[in-house]
């Protein structure tokens, strides 16, 4: 009986020690954080971009650059290939960002409606797959197939196009209108003002801008802001 008491006592002490040391240990475990706190891989490039020469990108009325980017079907897509288009809805978007995902159905609906009216959607993934692995070309194909994207989904290989436009986040819209040989920026910003609930949208920025272009009227709201995932 006495042995049993001693043994029970010892067991309790051992348990307590294990418990306490576990708790103490958790204090110092800095590596609990998901990504290890290593310095950025490209600190010089980043600091020059942010501090020295901030890439401001396009403003309303600027001529947007054309590009030749790889589509998920392997073709290379360029704006000049669209002879009959009146303009373009360029949307920088991606797979990993919940805001982008929240807008997928709305982007498909916009493309289906406005492609026939001369303004097709062209989606561009601006992210480096090394930063966001689920934004790789292979995963772009998977996502486009799953959702049935009705528009090209291009990869900004080498990340040369998004800085010229001045896209900072996904999703980020640039509405262009063809004027002669040029594609003029008419609207920059969000698709609408409620990513959570399409039925509770107060301002349909992009669609209003498209309607204005189609009816030859001035666009009321030419720029808007919204939360998005920083392009990396």
């Amino acid at each position: 009986m006495k042995t049993l008491k001693i043994l029970t006592g010892l067991l309790l002490v051992a348990l307590a020690i294990a418990f306490i040391s576990g708790m103490l240990d958790s204090h110092d475990r800095e590596n609990l954080y998901a990504p290890p706190p290593v310095p950025k891989q490209y600190p010089i490039k980043e600091s020059t971009q942010e501090n020295a020469t901030p890439t401001r990108g396009y403003g309303i009325g600027d001529a947007a650059t054309d590009f030749l980017l790889k589509n998920i079907d392997g073709d290379r897509i360029s704006l000049k290939d669209y002879k009959d288009a009146k303009g373009f809805v360029i949307i920088f978007t991606c797979n990993h960002c919940p805001y982008s995902v929240a807008y997928e159905d709305r982007i498909i609906a916009l493309d289906k409606k406005y492609k026939n009216l001369g303004y097709p959607v062209i989606a561009i993934n601006p992210n480096n797959p090394k930063e966001y692995p689920t934004d790789s070309f292979e995963f772009m194909k998977v996502r486009a197939r799953e959702k049935g994207f009705s528009f090209p989904y291009l990869l900004d290989e080498g990340q040369k196009i998004y800085p010229q436009y001045g896209a900072t986040k996904t999703p980020h819209v640039f509405l262009l209108q063809k004027e002669g040989e040029e594609n003029i920026v008419k609207y920059i910003g969000a698709i609408d003002d409620n990513y959570q609930d399409a039925t509770a949208v107060k301002n349909n920025y992009l669609e209003n801008a498209l309607q204005s272009l189609l009816s030859g009227k001035a666009i009321h709201v030419t720029e808007s802001v919204a939360i998005g995932c920083r392009i990396k």
């Binding site: 954080y33 600190p43 942010e50 900072t168 107060k202 802001v225 920083r230």
Partner: protein, 159 residues
Amino acid sequence: MKKQLLLISILISFISCDQRPVSKVITIDQKGLKEVTLPLNEKIKVINFWATWCAPCVEELPYFEKIGAKYEDKLEVILISLDDAKNIKSAVQPFLKNNQIKSKVLLLDDPYAAEWIPLIDAHWDGAIPVTLIVSKNKKQFYNKALSYDELQDAVEKFL
């Protein structure tokens, strides 16, 4: 036997007291956000916008924890989550526990970002992460992810 149990329970309660609590998410609206950005008399506010799904945000959170602990009496670090409010129980609170986040954590439950983004800074177009530092007589906005050194430099300008 009783003595041992007593000793153990005392030990456990002593250790428990020592452990700073993991932050608990408080939901705020636009009005709450306005209040959060107002300067305090005695402390410098370091306000960071983040979300559990935002990789560059998650990467810099430890720096905010570290600086908050280092200047505990001078800084108030406020982490404003932009996660969906319906994910508080499933994602945000577990994240805070797993990562032992002890700074103040608020969750801004308002999808109409175009209405409140300009309250933070005129130059913010909505990409996260961003950081705002506010004191009685100064305000600085950082439209990028920060390294620990950058955060330290930013804070020191206010001390």
